[in-house]
């Protein structure tokens, strides 16, 4: 609590006042950033959603036309479908894979740090480089994936041309970035006191029982956190789809953010794109609430 002295005889600010101002200066960049790059654009988007604007002529007020269009847009349905399918598959697969890797990487052997680095590196490869790399891996004739599939006796799959397989390709691609989640899980796993495992050993618990009754409950806050982040991130997938297939083939990978981008900057319907952005926001809020309500109760907090 600041005590402001009004009967001060010395000139200038009090120590507390100075400290407070310095405090505000330090958080100013962040607050300014939130206002300039989140609050203001969100407010402008809300305002734009009631207008028609193609960037060339000034915005024209059209009331709720853009909202009506939401219900009559078949491509929006396709886009939501693609985004949800991607999220439903890639998030659990990604989290499970990250958890599996993290458990492996807690093994105490020499040089484990090297392996941790190796598994973490892919997640910091720049998006464009990753996209080019994966486009080659999914290459129908000579791509690495098809070579393996053909060795196992499978057909030549046109990963990026066949609409039935492109979604699978992107789900496989999403496992490329589990490094970050893996590191978080690693930290969490190492934070579990070994005495619990020792006690479980004494009680005669097998490996799977230990995971079920010790590891998972104690990791559940972290898993919950990565689940929320993973859902929000997956619903907003853009870069890989934009770079590799640009929404194709036949709009099979027209994820929602890519659709918004296309609607705004290629089709020049800024008002409708603003509505879609707010729609995405509400979908994410509802999704988060569902996850909080359903999974939040099962999270075990030690205190």
């Amino acid at each position: 609590m600041a005590i402001w002295r009004t009967d001060r005889k010395a000139p200038g600010l009090t120590l507390v006042q100075r400290r407070t101002i310095i405090g505000y200066i330090f958080i100013a960049p962040f607050i300014l950033g939130v206002i300039l790059w989140w609050l203001l654009p969100a407010a402008v988007a809300a305002h734009l959603s009631l207008h028609r604007w193609n960037l060339i002529s000034p915005p024209r007020f059209v009331g709720l036309d853009n909202f009506e269009r939401l219900f009559a847009d078949p491509l929006l349905m396709q886009s939501l479908h693609a985004t949800f399918i991607f999220t439903i598959f890639s998030v659990p697969i990604g989290l499970a894979f990250a958890f599996f890797l993290a458990s492996l990487l807690t093994t105490r052997i020499r040089g484990i740090a090297i392996f941790r680095t190796i598994y973490f590196l892919p997640s910091i490869v720049p998006a464009v480089a990753g996209a080019v790399l994966w486009a080659w891996i999914f290459n129908t004739e000579f791509g690495l994936l098809n070579v393996i599939v053909r060795e196992l006796g499978g057909p030549r799959i046109a990963w990026l041309q066949d609409p039935n397989w492109t979604m699978a390709a992107f789900i496989i691609l999403s496992t490329w970035g589990v490094g970050g989640t893996m590191i978080i899980y690693l930290a969490g796993l190492q934070g579990i006191p070994t005495m619990y495992y020792e006690a479980a050993d004494i009680d005669g618990a097998g490996r799977w029982a230990k995971v079920r009754h010790i590891t998972l409950p104690l990791m559940s806050p972290i898993i919950f956190f990565t689940l929320i982040l993973g859902l929000i991130g997956s619903m907003q997938v853009f870069t890989s789809a934009f770079l590799i297939t640009n929404g194709g083939p036949q709009n099979a990978t027209l994820f929602l953010v890519l659709y918004i981008y296309r609607m705004a900057f290629q089709s020049l319907h800024m008002g409708y794109a603003a509505v879609l952005s707010w729609l995405l926001f509400f979908i994410l809020v509802v999704l988060s609430l569902i996850v909080f309500r359903y999974f939040g109760r099962r999270v075990y907090y030690e205190n």
Partner: protein, 460 residues
């Protein structure tokens, strides 16, 4: 000691403050100094465009010549490497539009409709050089530049149109006469398919139609006809159809268009003379390399590809020829425009620059490297062509192509507003479905109906 350090601390703070304010003042003063200097006797206009290294060099050379001839005008070149359309729109929306710019053929109508392009009709008509009838070859130039009222809002940079690039050595080996541009050298569709079959061989040397022909292991394809909009438009007009109708809608659901589209798909799936898009991408080789390594006999590609598919670049002998005719001989031509933007504060100087770009110097640079085809008749005469035809770039057939074939058989038109949206959302997916083997009449009527809804909405 403490007094000394106290003095130092205060004076250091003051010193830094002083430094900061003087630096800011200096920066402000220096920019205003620059502005004052320019305002006095030189007008600066901005010119924005896209392109690679050659375009960049070409524009800079043109700017030098122009600035020599017009010492009171300075042109600032803004080279945009990626996302050109979007960057231009963002600047227009922000009020910082350039004075002059490249305008893509698919953006031209949208910008014109929004009142963003300067009307230069009267300036062109009154110009002693550009106003002469027959300065550009017609009727194509007016067909693409003029709106329904005959007003011009930009001048076409050049022409480009698809045609056949072929590997002459493969034709020699098979004993077949390659195509050309003269009327007697242009094949009809069935002849074209037959010849493509003779040039397609699998790994055992068999042709399509032979017993035991292995369509999964083809060593050399007869032809590659890409399934994106320009090569498709060329096929559609060659069958007498229209890619865009007069009322600015898509014409791809007409019987002629559907027949042309199906014929392109049949090249891949019925006659097995063309690779599937997947296989082509799968080989990871650019077209030039495929021609060069005898994996492809004929490639249908835009005339711009001559810049890298030419006698100097390839190790095999090559040539160019006209697309086969279906109902008529035709190819589809278009190109980007040079326009002055309406918000410019220097319309006269902007016009002078746009005008300069429509005179021979600028166009010649890109004609020489094979990237462009001439739109100015002065460059189509014997002496005119001698000024840009380059040994090693332009095959022997090129002179006849630009001076006779293109003006006679090139078809063009205005690309309607709303086309980028209609194309991305509905037409391009239909092309993709066609490329996967779906029959044209299953895909296109529906896609065209949806695309036309978008195009109609954009016209309002």
């Amino acid at each position: 000691m403490s007094i000394m350090s106290m003095n130092n601390r205060i004076s250091r703070r003051k010193f830094i403050k002083l430094l900061g304010t003087s630096a800011a003042a200096g920066a402000f003063l220096s920019t205003s100094d620059l502005m004052k200097a320019y305002a006095q006797n030189v007008t600066t206009i901005s010119f924005r465009g896209w392109g690679g290294v050659e375009e960049d060099a070409g524009v800079r050379a043109a700017i030098e010549v122009f600035q020599e001839e017009n010492p009171h005008i300075r042109v600032e070149w803004q080279h945009i490497v990626a996302d050109y359309a979007m960057v231009l729109l963002a600047d227009i929306a922000a009020g910082t539009a350039p004075d002059t710019a490249f305008v893509g053929s698919e953006q031209y109508e949208t910008l014109r409709q929004g009142g963003m392009l300067l009307d230069i009709t009267d300036r062109i008509r009154n110009d002693p050089l550009l106003g002469q009838p027959g300065y550009f070859f017609e009727p194509q130039e007016a067909a693409r530049s003029a709106d329904a009222d005959g007003r011009w809002h930009g001048i076409g940079s050049c022409w480009v149109a698809p045609h056949i690039f072929y590997n002459a050595a493969l034709f020699d080996e098979a004993g077949i006469t390659p195509p050309g541009f003269r009327d007697d050298q242009i094949w009809d569709w069935d002849t074209f398919v037959e010849i493509a079959k003779q040039l397609t061989v699998d790994h055992h040397g068999r042709h399509p139609g032979d017993a035991g022909f292995d369509r999964e292991n083809i060593q050399c394809w007869g032809v590659n006809w890409p399934l994106w909009w320009i090569p498709i438009a060329a096929a559609v007009v060659a069958n007498g159809g229209k890619f865009f109708t007069e009322d600015g809608l898509s014409g791809l659901d007409s019987p002629e268009a559907l027949e042309a589209l199906q014929r392109l798909s049949d090249l891949i799936y019925v006659h097995h003379v063309a690779p599937r898009g997947a296989a082509l991408e799968g080989l990871g080789m650019p077209i030039a390399a495929m021609l060069d390594t005898n994996r492809l006999a004929m490639a249908v590609d835009g005339s711009w590809a001559l810049a890298w598919i030419n006698p100097t670049a390839l190790t095999v002998p090559m040539g160019t020829g006209a697309l086969p005719k279906m109902a008529q001989t035709a190819t589809y031509m278009q190109a980007h425009f040079h326009s002055a933007l309406a918000p410019t504060r220097h319309p006269e100087e902007a016009w002078q620059w746009v005008r300069f770009l429509a005179t021979p110097f600028y166009q010649t640079q890109f004609l020489k490297i094979g990237l462009w085809l001439p739109s100015q008749t002065a460059l189509l005469t014997e002496e005119g062509m001698a000024g840009w035809l380059t040994e090693g770039i332009h095959p022997d057939s090129h002179a006849y192509f630009v001076a006779n074939y293109l003006p006679k058989y090139g078809v063009t038109g205005r690309i309607p507003p709303g086309w980028p949206e209609a194309a991305t959302d509905h037409i391009a997916p239909a092309f993709e479905a066609l490329g996967l083997g779906t029959p044209a009449e299953e895909v296109f009527p529906d896609a065209v109906r949806r695309a036309n809804e978008v195009l109609r909405a954009a016209q309002m």
